[in-house]
């Protein structure tokens, strides 16, 4: 059902007064928007609040979406600005790569991480853990590039910078992720990488 209409068709239906079309649009993008919000807020409650705020803002400004870019690119711009505003308001401590004492919150993962040894051992867990420890900008660029189906140019539009800068930032973010992974895993790095 969700894939029956394109984003543009759903937007047109929403603007014509069909709110269920917007609900379909939310269902289609909610996981990614929520993940991006998680990259900034580092906890589920705040991520839910930010993600919800993003969709409400997008609805409010839907008539202003010109269709020059993909809807997802436009939406991710809203996510980025909303998340940055959230961080400024809350003055969250964003963990740096050398911050040993910062607690890692990965409560978003389905199931209990602490009790699930098998999941703890999964490579995916370690990657998510390392991403959660990156700076929000680094985590966002990696997520947009690998999971958002966004080109360097589209990421540049979302973040309001040049594509070349995004390329450099992406390289640095991946390097920091690799270092973080190696640091976290120590002996287990060899098994993962």
């Amino acid at each position: 059902m969700q894939n029956k209409f394109s984003d543009i068709e759903l937007i047109e239906q929403t603007l014509a007064g069909d709110q269920s079309a917007y609900a379909d649009l939310i269902k289609r993008h909610q996981r990614f928007v929520f993940t991006l919000a998680m990259r900034f807020t580092k906890n589920r409650e705040d991520a839910e609040e930010v993600a919800q705020d993003c969709f409400v803002k997008a609805y409010r400004n839907l008539s202003g979406f010109g269709g020059q870019s993909k809807f997802s690119t436009w939406l991710y711009t809203i996510v980025y600005t909303t998340s940055m505003t959230f961080l400024r308001k809350r003055r969250l401590d964003t963990s740096s790569i050398d911050d040993e004492h910062n607690a890692i919150q990965l409560e978003s993962k389905p199931g209990s991480m602490e009790n699930n040894l098998a999941e703890r051992k999964s490579q995916s867990y370690y990657v998510n853990q390392a991403i959660a420890q990156l700076l929000p900008d680094d985590a966002m660029i990696i997520t947009l590039f690998y999971k958002g189906e966004q080109s360097l140019e589209e990421i540049a539009a979302t973040l309001g910078m040049e594509a070349n800068n995004v390329k450099v930032k992406l390289f640095r973010a991946r390097q920091r992720l690799k270092e973080r992974l190696e640091h976290n895993l120590k002996h287990e790095t060899k098994e993962l990488i």
């Binding site: 929520f34 991520a47 690799k178």
Partner: protein, 167 residues
């Protein structure tokens, strides 16, 4: 000068030129350091491509739609009423008042120039009553409502003026 890692990431992303691509391919095949780094980066690349997205709560869509519905309901009534309806009502009253004035003036006896202002007003009022069939209190209430509406419209007009100037 790009580092080994940077060259390899560019190679994996496909953002380097064909000549660079060929050169890196040769280095991976010939150089052990390149080979090892390439395998490391490739493994991380695969992990990143297959990482899972976070899942929002089950009621997320419902909560967003509820928030939107609440916001829509809280929109001031002024914003939801079509301005043309207000203007239509105003036009109706203005035309009615204008018509009453014209009828009153048309039916007045202007030859009796010695009438005082009060007498003329009474005469006009009587004529209007005759023509429209309005009784005294009903007519006064109607006029009072018209005056209030006119003041309201005048107030709206004056409020709009500074906004236009600011723009």
């Amino acid at each position: 000068m790009n580092s080994i890692e940077e060259k390899l990431w560019n190679y994996i992303d496909g953002t380097c030129s064909p000549a660079e691509e060929q050169a890196i391919r040769n280095l991976i095949a010939a150089d052990e350091v390149y080979q090892r780094k390439y395998q490391e980066i490739l493994a991380l690349q695969k992990e990143l491509e297959t990482m899972e997205l976070d899942v929002p709560p089950m009621a997320f869509t419902y909560n967003v739609m509820e928030a939107i519905r609440t916001e829509e309901a809280q929109k001031p009534l002024k914003a939801t009423i079509d301005g043309r309806i207000i203007k239509g009502i105003a036009a109706f009253f203005l035309i009615t008042i204008a018509a009453l004035v014209v009828i009153a003036l048309y039916s007045s006896n202007w030859s009796a120039g010695s009438y005082s202002g009060i007498k003329l007003a009474n005469h006009v009022s009587a004529d209007i009553s005759l023509v429209t069939g309005y009784t005294g209190p009903a007519f006064k209430a109607f006029l009072f409502f018209d005056v209030v509406l006119a003041l309201f419209l005048f107030d709206s007009y004056l409020r709009k003026k500074p906004v236009i100037r600011q723009m």
